[in-house]
């Protein structure tokens, strides 16, 4: 499986990596635990000794990249403040409402576009 840098991993890739590296470990040690990052991480951490080496080396990375992608939404508000207010007539309190405008507008800074990509908005 091709794995991009953790920074840019999509939710699908991160969840796929977790399944690929830890699917058997989850079946063996965490049966009945739902697809919930907190509960799964807790269960896997609790069973570190029993995990395959592949799972042990990957599971935190998978959860981290999901977390990074979520955190990047806040970065958009900061990196795109000028664009949100001046180009999209929006408010940084409701960044998500300005996203469709940001992804199509002209004159959006490179920093802002990078943040938009990190958040998975386009």
């Amino acid at each position: 499986m091709r794995v991009g840098s953790a920074q840019n991993m999509s939710f699908g890739d991160a969840a796929g990596m977790l399944a690929q590296s830890c699917g058997a470990d989850i079946d063996a040690n965490c049966r009945g635990v739902s697809l919930d990052a907190n509960r799964l991480r807790e269960c896997l951490s609790r069973n570190t000794d029993a995990l395959s080496s592949q799972c042990r080396s990957d599971y935190l990375r998978a959860f981290d990249s999901i977390q990074k992608r979520i955190a990047a939404r806040v970065t958009v508000a900061n990196a795109c403040t000028r664009e949100i207010v001046k180009i999209c007539n929006g408010s940084t309190k409701e960044t998500s409402k300005s996203v469709p405008c940001l992804t199509t507008a002209h004159g959006v800074s490179r920093n802002c576009l990078q943040a938009i990509d990190d958040a998975g908005y386009r």
Binding site: A19, K93, K97
Partner: protein, 227 residues
């Protein structure tokens, strides 16, 4: 004569059902290949008009229907769809593996749920809200099937909200059990175990002005209204 009339009525009904299925923009993904984000986005962004949907009331309807013990109950393949409004809305139909009789998603479907999350944060879908719909085949008790499909729809919604932080305001869930099939012609088919994501509404363009603090005077209220 009477018989042939009945037959032709039946034909018309079958045709109507076929037409409804044709009109509904439904994409089916099968097997373990997860759908691509862009397929989901393209399918769900074709939204035109929002129907009036009271999800809480629908849940009750579905439960009531599954408990009805009427003598004239049609066989499963002839049940009229309980929520026909859904058939006209943009729908993405997707295989998700669950542990038997539980709402626990199997690791083989983690990537699929992640892809759904990727689609929902995409700029094209950000302005919309969605209904996660669970179904079952016609095996087992009807009421239990409604409950299982509701718990599964809830589980997908919970994953999207808790793990991928999709706003809970954009997601509702509804379990239809065997009260409305994915594949009406084949009620026992595993196709009926699929989950559907349905675009049900467009969010307001700009939300109302944030509620003024209680101390705000009447005059500022007036100017706020102007905007």
């Amino acid at each position: 004569m009477m018989r042939s009339f009945k037959q032709s009525l039946r034909d018309v009904a079958a045709m109507l059902i076929a037409l409804a299925a044709f009109a509904a923009p439904v994409a089916v993904s099968r097997g373990q290949t997860p759908p691509s984000r862009d397929d989901i986005v393209n399918q769900l962004s074709r939204f035109e008009t929002a129907p009036e949907l009271d999800v809480a009331a629908l849940r009750q309807n579905v439960l009531d229907k599954s408990r009805s013990r009427s003598r004239n109950e049609p066989e499963p393949s002839k049940r009229p769809p309980l929520v026909p409004e859904l058939l006209k809305l943009p729908t993405f139909t997707v295989n998700i593996d669950f542990d038997n009789d539980t709402p626990v998603v199997r690791p083989s479907s983690y990537q699929t749920v992640g892809r759904i999350a990727d689609a929902l944060v995409n700029a094209s879908l950000l302005p919309y809200s969605f209904l996660i719909v669970g179904h079952t085949d016609s095996n087992g008790r009807r009421e239990a099937n409604v409950q299982l499909s509701q718990r599964r729809a809830d589980a997908i919604r919970d994953s999207l909200v808790n793990t991928f932080k999709i706003s809970s305001k954009r997601l509702q869930s509804l379990g239809l059990g065997e009260e409305q099939f994915v594949d009406q012609a084949h009620p026992t088919s595993p196709a009926n175990l699929q989950i559907q994501i349905v675009t049900i509404a467009k969010l307001p363009e700009q939300s109302e002005q944030p509620t003024q603090p209680a101390s705000a005077s009447k005059s500022t209220k007036k100017s706020a209204k102007k905007r």
